[in-house]
């Protein structure tokens, strides 16, 4: 195995790991946020507008963590900066 093959295969494994671990945490957090919001709405249905807005904003912030993981995976797969050092 030459160096390029090693870098590429490690990149693929790293991208898969990034998506797996980076998807697990946000998914769990999103589920918790949704559960709590539904609980709050069940307790106080008249405040559902405010709760839904806060839920959307919070979910967007949580979700962006998963999006960062996705962007990192894309960089590792398609625009890996380390390959440039090997293939001169």
């Amino acid at each position: 195995m030459d160096a390029k093959t090693v870098v590429i295969s490690v990149s693929i494994i790293a991208a898969a790991l990034v998506m797996a671990i980076g998807g697990y945490g946000p998914a769990k957090a999103l589920g918790k946020a949704l559960t709590e919001a539904l609980d709050a709405i069940a307790r106080q249905p008249e405040a559902s507008d405010k709760i839904m807005r806060a839920l959307f904003v919070g979910m967007a912030l949580i979700e962006s963590i998963a999006i960062y993981a996705f962007v990192i995976a894309l960089i590792v797969l398609f625009a890996n900066p380390l390959i440039g050092y090997i293939v001169k």
């Binding site: 807005r53 959307f56 979700e63 999006i67 960062y68 962007v71």
Partner: protein, 225 residues
């Protein structure tokens, strides 16, 4: 190698400025929005026509959303924010038309939108409470937190851009990869999901901008109260 076509390609360049196909799609979307708005507001009347009614409903919804979050006259921000909302929403949906590339699946486009949102935060903050009053909120609650406020200004702008970019790009990639693997019918549910995500992401972009604007003002209004 067709998968890589989802990244922007340079069509031609004016001097050092490269015109990619996402830029051209953005121009098409802008022309479409201008045409829709011009045609439907040409003959305004008290008894609205069909398109006028749709536009009025959309702008009333925008006004109500802004009024709920900002403690201000909503028409201070409706012209810019409404346009931004419209443009992002239509840009997100433009990728569903065959042959067009989603403009917001290009980091340059989303970064331009995020810069507009960034400057809007400061302009509204300064316009409502003066330069001095606006700068004072950076030392809340103590001077020690000043560098963190400055870092937050940068990171939340980058986060806005990357969030929109990643969502739209992932939608496109999933559709194209599935199209390559399983054929025609399976990607359709994902495209339907992509419509919802496109609209929700446009909504979230605007609401986050509003929350940032409100965050720049609320500290002083609480201090005065």
């Amino acid at each position: 190698m067709k998968i890589f076509n989802i990244f922007p390609e340079t069509i031609f360049s004016i001097g050092p400025v490269q015109i990619t196909d996402t830029v051209i799609t953005t121009w098409i979307v802008m022309a479409a929005i201008i045409a829709i708005c011009y045609l439907s507001t040409r003959k305004l009347s008290v008894k609205p026509s069909f398109f006028q009614e749709i536009l009025e409903a959309i702008f009333e919804a925008i006004e109500k959303t802004i009024k709920d979050i900002l403690p201000l006259d909503p028409w201070l921000v409706v012209p810019v924010l409404g346009t931004l909302w419209f443009l992002i929403g239509f840009s997100n949906l433009a990728g569903l038309i065959p042959g067009l590339k989603t403009p917001t699946a290009d980091l340059n486009t989303t970064f331009a939108f995020a810069l507009i949102s960034f400057s809007m935060t400061h302009v509204v903050g300064i316009a409502t409470q003066g330069l001095r009053g606006y700068l004072m909120h950076y030392k809340e609650p103590t001077w020690i937190l000043l560098p963190f406020h400055l870092i937050a200004e940068v990171t939340r702008t980058v986060a806005l851009a990357v969030r929109l970019f990643g969502n739209m790009l992932s939608g496109d990639m999933i559709a194209i990869i599935l199209l390559g693997i399983v054929g025609l019918l399976v990607p359709i549910p994902f495209s339907l999901l992509h419509i919802i995500i496109a609209l929700i992401q446009a909504y979230i972009f605007g609401v986050l901008t509003l929350v940032f604007i409100a965050g720049g003002m609320r500290t002083t209004s609480e201090k005065e109260a």
